[in-house]
Symmetry: C3
Subunit: 134 residues, 3 copies
Amino acid sequence: MRSDTLEVRTGGQARVQDLTHQCAQFVSGEQDGLLSVFVPHATAGVAILETGAGSDDDLLATIDQLLPRDNRWQHRHGSEGHGRDHVLPAFIAPSITVPVLGGRVQLGTWQSICLVDTNVDNAVRTVRLSFLAG
Amino acid sequence: MRSDTLEVRTGGQARVQDLTHQCAQFVSGEQDGLLSVFVPHATAGVAILETGAGSDDDLLATIDQLLPRDNRWQHRHGSEGHGRDHVLPAFIAPSITVPVLGGRVQLGTWQSICLVDTNVDNAVRTVRLSFLAG
Amino acid sequence: MRSDTLEVRTGGQARVQDLTHQCAQFVSGEQDGLLSVFVPHATAGVAILETGAGSDDDLLATIDQLLPRDNRWQHRHGSEGHGRDHVLPAFIAPSITVPVLGGRVQLGTWQSICLVDTNVDNAVRTVRLSFLAG
């Protein structure tokens, strides 16, 4: 298995950050296998969705509605409502696997691999990419 | 890694489609490893749940409630409320892995591997099955 | 692939049960690869989150809100509202993979691998751990 990390600057706002290009580069030159995308943070997740057509903002609005940034959370520190960022990874897991054939991730036309980071207190996040050949 | 696709006819209604039989057939004759079930579409997901006892309809009703098919979505095209189908894969991911031992998927008694397709505008969907031996 | 099961006593209440120690032990002595954590039950999921600082209770409260334990569910048996436990695995999947390097799971500082079991009718649950070397 080949494994490496990349740093992603998500800044001080909730963010859906497209990582498809970095993932494609990482498996380029490989043969067949599974790509694991894993975020070693307790307040972020990985999702596969269409970007650039409104769905990234739709997702952030949905998260705001289902996991409101208010004072209901027992886990309290940092910005108001930060506790909801700690519940997020249960619903948008920090781990996803994608099949790779001939060095190409087998995404559909409209799919992008994205970091979903609603945490406004950490501007830089780490993502681990691993390729397990088969 | 052995990988193949299958076509699933989900029709013009939201649908939870059981794929367990196709998955079992795909890994039959293999030894141990991981089965990856991946849907290369931006408006569908893969879930493992009990089917045939009401939970498939319960899931669709829950999705209708958490992601209403109305005009709140920025992503707009096709049927009314279709934008919610583009948010679905963030919560019901298009990728899941299942352990395989001696050519048998290690599902529990009541578990089925299902395609969750709320998109009413695409009647036929592709699913990619991949087996990584170990 | 090496695979084994463990039994987890979750008792008669909804529970977020930390499995990090058992996962770390399972891959100790291995080299690089992917750890698959899979729950062969139709009413439980696996999540990676911070434990011991309130987020486990925050998660259970969120589940109670998004999937209420009431009589709306078509799937009815056992305790009142048990149908919601059968919808849970669609949102908190019973399967997650974690990269392993040099026999150590590559979790972030605040991440724990947890069994999420809202089913109050089954006190003992099985979890399957599998390690696929690469």
